[in-house]
Symmetry: C2
Amino acid sequence: MTADTPTIDYPPTERTRIKRQHERALYDRKTVHEILDAGLLCHVGYVIDGQPYVTPTCYWRQGERVYWHGSSASRMLRRQAQGGVPVCFTVSLLDGLVFARSGYASSINYRTVMAFGEAEQVTDEAEILATLEFFQERLTPGRWAELRPVTDQELKATTVMSLELKEVAAKVRPGPHDDAEDDYGLPVWAGVVPIRYEIGAPEDDPRLAPGIAQPDYLGDVSVG
Amino acid sequence: MTADTPTIDYPPTERTRIKRQHERALYDRKTVHEILDAGLLCHVGYVIDGQPYVTPTCYWRQGERVYWHGSSASRMLRRQAQGGVPVCFTVSLLDGLVFARSGYASSINYRTVMAFGEAEQVTDEAEILATLEFFQERLTPGRWAELRPVTDQELKATTVMSLELKEVAAKVRPGPHDDAEDDYGLPVWAGVVPIRYEIGAPEDDPRLAPGIAQPDYLGDVSVG
């Protein structure tokens, strides 16, 4: 995921330079996009009256923006849609548990993207429909055309937010641990336990219309 | 996970009452504990100069507190350890994709816990060691005794934070979708695609001491 001389497409800032031990901070578009395109669930942080809120929600990336959506009645989205609201957008993918010979050197493997900026509401109806279609098609290519068209009422009830990828960094903790040299001889098991999402067999809705088979695109579902 | 008359152990507040469509908010200790004990990764939200930060980190629950830890050099932990810092602690477990007959009614299944309060630094060395042991043992019962003791230097380099479970709610979105009644006849596949974490086969460290077998407790690892 990195080269010897990493590319920097997103200039690091004080906020995106923050990293933790054994973590690599990467600022190239390819790594940031790969992580964002692998995930489905993000955590959006925002502030109301000095109190931080962290809300999990689905997201998708289109070009140099990430998008998330929800009910227009949602307090989170009403707050964010006020404009000029700083957010922290975080995606975290857990890849494994790292067992070292000491608790201190033990860790987890993960990929994360953190983006800062002001969230913007998408207000143009054609743009909302286009990005919702993009989201559905990314997850399940071919499904959007099967669904009945979005109604005006549904469109009114849906708020779509977006954040430009400008102040953004990927943090990656790959590979095995980093024991202190003296600890390698200890009689303790060390290694990595890999973790990934398993997509289970689709379960038909009990009220499925007769003759509806499970579509092939279900095999494309991937969330992390 | 719920009864007809749900128990309320944590009194709802303005902040914990927020929920989204088709979501159930639950305030009983059993549900909150079950979700917290299933997960490994949380997202901690905090504010620096009006800017929200959302940091993924490992956590564990002990009694009516959640704990997380990291490097004493970490900007996040130094900020939180100042005292009186409001945080939002969020755990989100993805359980499935819910395909309805319209995009609007489609959703995800998840379990989430959101807790608000002021994070407190654990400063007592015996308490730090005890809770680190608790964390390790929860994940892999029996491993703590195998590891070499924590050194003084490691203890100094580790900051442990905790948050009391007081203002907390679980939000759960279970089961299938909720199509508009008119949509049930549409010729579109609907149902649920279950998602869960798969724990892969442990990979031995290349420098494992001779004769060290994979311990049984690796079979207990569970992260969501």
